[in-house]
């Protein structure tokens, strides 16, 4: 590497971001050692009544939902023929790939014997389990995402031939990706259909798989906007004209779609409520919290998106995206933690420990660092000069 880049690297080494990241990484390593020497009990607040905590609620449920940008963007671009979103595909695929890889990585902490994670697929298949479906789909989809990501890698490495072969398979990969996503996004919700007695009626529904699937679309669209906004400043110098030119159009288009899908999600949630005739629960404490989720994190962003798109106001759209992302996290937390085991006395309820929070931050930090590394090295936000305008 040239002298110049080393100098730049040296200058930016002590940014606040890097300092915080370093602290989190060190803390994460400490907790990792504790986890694998002392067991789950030493670092988590999990217990016999609460077998799943933050690592499932955040790392798995939110992780998978927020990585939905991959299939939504590539479907919009390659299947629905919205070619102008092309520039958004690579960042979205990269985010999704890293997201899923980290989900699997984080599961290594949560499951008791992580090296057996391939067992359900290769040793003994529990096909009656919805978790089996989740595992199978996530495994295959992770591979699909990796393949979808490789063109950027091969362009970077200058491997033309294989890159062109992969690019030819784009359509097939996209369809496969959408099928797999539909299946496991909804199966994550379906995991909870087995526990009508443990999940609060306002959140329990036979429609949970549908809710999870539809909300994953909202999550995917919003994450693309949200993350485009986040990477805009630090990555600006890397973005080429095509990306920048299309970026505003992409935000408007995705904002419009998100507004509609959120509205639809709101509607089916209400239908679910009516179907189970759960109206009377709305007057309880859980009901109030349910209304906060529904009005503040579904109806409001849907409205904001609509206003932002009408006025072509990108700032409002970005706020709506942030709110939706937060709303997805609230929803997944509600199902996995807040409304789960609602019948237990307060003293037996679960609250995450510092160890669990540290590992979750650790995982997110690794994700951001990996994203930053790859997107500064490989053609993610710009088209590789050798392959310009090929699509």
């Amino acid at each position: 590497m040239s002298v110049e880049t080393t100098a730049v690297a040296k200058k930016s080494l002590f940014t606040p971001f890097n300092l915080i990241a370093t602290v989190i990484l060190i803390a994460g390593l400490v907790v990792t050692v504790m986890r694998f020497t002392g067991g789950l009990g030493t670092v988590t607040n999990l217990d016999q009544n609460n077998p799943w905590g933050l690592w499932i609620g955040f790392d798995l449920l939110c992780g998978v939902a927020l990585a939905a940008g991959g299939y939504t963007t590539s479907a919009a671009c390659y299947l629905f023929g919205l070619k102008r979103y092309h520039a958004g595909v690579r960042p979205a695929i990269l985010t999704a790939f890293l997201g899923y890889a980290l989900v699997v990585f984080a599961l290594g902490y949560d499951v008791g014997r992580p090296w057996r994670l391939p067992y359900p697929i290769f040793v003994q298949q529990g096909t009656t389990s919805l978790l089996f479906e989740v595992g199978l789909c996530v495994m295959i989809y992770l591979s699909v995402l990796f393949v979808e990501f490789t063109p950027a890698l091969f362009e970077w490495l200058g491997m033309k031939k294989i890159r062109n072969i992969v690019v030819k398979a784009t359509l097939a990969l996209t369809i496969l990706g959408v099928i797999l996503s539909t299946l496991h996004q909804s199966s994550l919700g379906a995991l909870y259909t087995i526990v009508p007695s443990k999940l609060h009626p306002l959140w329990y529904s036979q429609y949970l798989p549908v809710f999870f699937f539809v909300s994953s679309i909202c999550a995917g669209l919003s994450m693309v906007i949200f993350e485009g906004t986040l990477s805009h400043k630090p990555m600006h110098h890397l973005m080429d004209k095509e990306y920048l030119d299309n970026h505003d159009g992409l935000i408007l288009g995705f904002g419009k779609a998100a507004s509609l899908v959120l509205f639809g999600y709101f509607a089916i949630k209400v239908i679910g409520l009516a179907y189970d005739n759960n109206w009377h629960y709305l007057a309880t404490g859980y009901g109030a919290w349910f209304l906060v989720e529904m009005l503040g994190f579904v109806a409001l962003p849907s409205f904001l998106y609509a206003v932002g798109v009408r006025d072509k106001n990108l700032t409002v759209i970005r706020w709506a995206a942030g709110l939706t992302v937060l709303g997805i996290i609230v929803n997944r937390f509600n199902i996995s933690m807040v409304a789960f085991n609602y019948q237990l006395p307060a003293a037996q309820r679960y609250f995450p420990s510092w160890g669990e929070i540290t590992i979750s931050l650790f995982v997110v930090t690794i994700g951001v660092l990996a994203f930053r590394f790859i997107s500064t090295k490989m053609p993610i936000f710009y088209e590789h000069p050798d392959y310009k305008g090929e699509h």
């Binding site: 986890r35 694998f36 020497t37 002392g38 067991g39 789950l40 009990g41 030493t42 988590t44 999990l46 217990d47 016999q48 009544n49 077998p51 799943w52 479907a75 390659y78 299947l79 629905f80 023929g81 070619k83 949560d110 499951v111 008791g112 014997r113 057996r116 994670l117 067992y119 359900p120 040793v123 003994q124 298949q125 529990g126 096909t127 009656t128 389990s129 919805l130 978790l131 089996f132 479906e133 595992g135 359509l171 369809i175 959408v178 099928i179 539909t182 299946l183 909804s186 199966s187 379906a190 995991l191 259909t193 087995i194 526990v195 009508p196 007695s197 443990k198 036979q206 798989p209 019948q343």
Partner: protein, 351 residues
């Protein structure tokens, strides 16, 4: 079950039936097996002596408890099972005075744990016991999430080889023809082991014979699709810490819908997405053709216009040159005539 048949047909029609059909079939074949045994617990007979707890601890070779089994003060707080305790007896103050209730795995006829486990570590044995195989368990703990009775427990302190722990209905002892440890030890015959069918008959008989003593309900006969352990009580079951809102649908039934949706998605999605793709391609093609045509038209129109203009220009130019010629001719004529006139003038003057 019209809906099921319909979904089944669709599933079979789909290319993907391979994944879903065995899932659905297996989903329904946990039980009940004709040889299903069980235990009937009678809360009106239990005196809370904790002998069953001790027997369980001994036959399963579990670690010694913090307080000895003859210390009955532990009954003052409600306890639950854990990885070192497969069964507990709790004391309840009820509308009819103090009652005790034993808690352990209920060995469901269609166990939630078994249907939830993604490596089939749990198995409903023909004799009724639900057993667990630690050699394949991944430790995901979905079984714990799924069990409506919150029975499976986990070795949270084990860093590398944690196991799920729960009552096995003393499966190894049953194989040897022995009774479950707790049943054998109970001094009050609050526990009765036998064929599940027989147990239901015994329970009915007791309720009929002593209608004042029992509430008219055999807990576990239908709860969550039925369990091998069943309960009789003198007070409503909610008063002895048992949930009465579990319903009769078994866990596999609860998840049958989402599982049945899998083949539909796998079968239908490629078709739909392919359709959407085709439409969008067609749109793009039409749009493209239209663009090409528009360009051609524009070119043609531009061409026509240019020609017209050329004509006009040419016409104009012709006119202009015509005029110039006329002017020139006129000029020449004038020039030619002028001297003559002059001459004529002079001539006239001269003459």
């Amino acid at each position: 079950m019209l809906r099921r048949t319909f979904l089944g047909l669709l599933g079979a029609a789909g290319a993907s039936a391979a994944l879903a059909t065995p899932a659905k079939a297996a989903n329904k074949h946990f039980g009940p097996h004709p040889d299903t045994h069980g235990v009937l617990f009678d809360a009106t007979r239990c005196i809370g002596c904790r002998q069953c707890e001790q027997a369980c601890n001994e036959v399963n070779e579990l670690p010694a408890p913090a307080k000895p089994f003859d210390d009955l003060t532990v009954l003052d707080v409600e306890r639950r099972t854990d990885d070192k305790t497969y069964t507990v007896v709790n004391k309840y103050q009820t509308s009819k005075g103090v009652f005790f209730r034993k808690n352990q795995c209920n060995h469901c006829l269609e166990p939630a744990c078994a249907s939830a486990c993604f490596v089939k570590a749990f198995k409903k044995q023909p004799n009724g016991a639900v057993t667990y195989d630690a050699s394949v368990c991944v430790g995901c703990r979905y079984c714990m999430v799924a069990c409506p009775f919150s029975i499976p427990t986990y070795e949270y302190d084990e860093p590398l080889t944690p196991r799920v722990r729960k009552c096995t209905m003393c499966y190894p002892r049953l194989q040897e023809g022995k009774l479950p440890g707790c049943v054998e030890r109970c001094p009050k015959e609050a526990l009765t082991f036998g064929l599940r069918e027989e147990l239901i008959k015994i329970a009915r008989k007791r309720i009929e014979t002593y209608p004042d003593r029992y509430v008219d309900h055999i807990y576990g006969e239908h709860e969550m699709g039925g369990t091998s352990w069943m309960y009789l009580s003198g007070v409503p079951f909610s008063e002895i810490g048992m949930r009465e809102d579990l319903g009769t649908a078994s866990a596999p039934e609860l998840t049958a819908g989402p599982l049945a949706a899998v083949p539909i998605v796998v079968g239908l999605w490629p078709v739909l997405l392919g359709g959407i793709y085709a439409v969008s391609q067609r749109n793009a093609k039409v749009a493209n053709e239209e663009r090409v045509k528009a360009v051609k038209d524009a070119l043609r129109r531009a061409g026509d216009e240019a020609e017209k203009k050329l004509h006009e220009e040419l016409g104009k130019a012709e006119q202009a040159s015509q005029r110039r010629i006329e002017v020139e001719v006129k000029k020449a004529v004038e020039e030619a005539l002028a001297p003559k006139e002059e001459d004529a003038g002079t001539n006239e003057e001269e003459s």
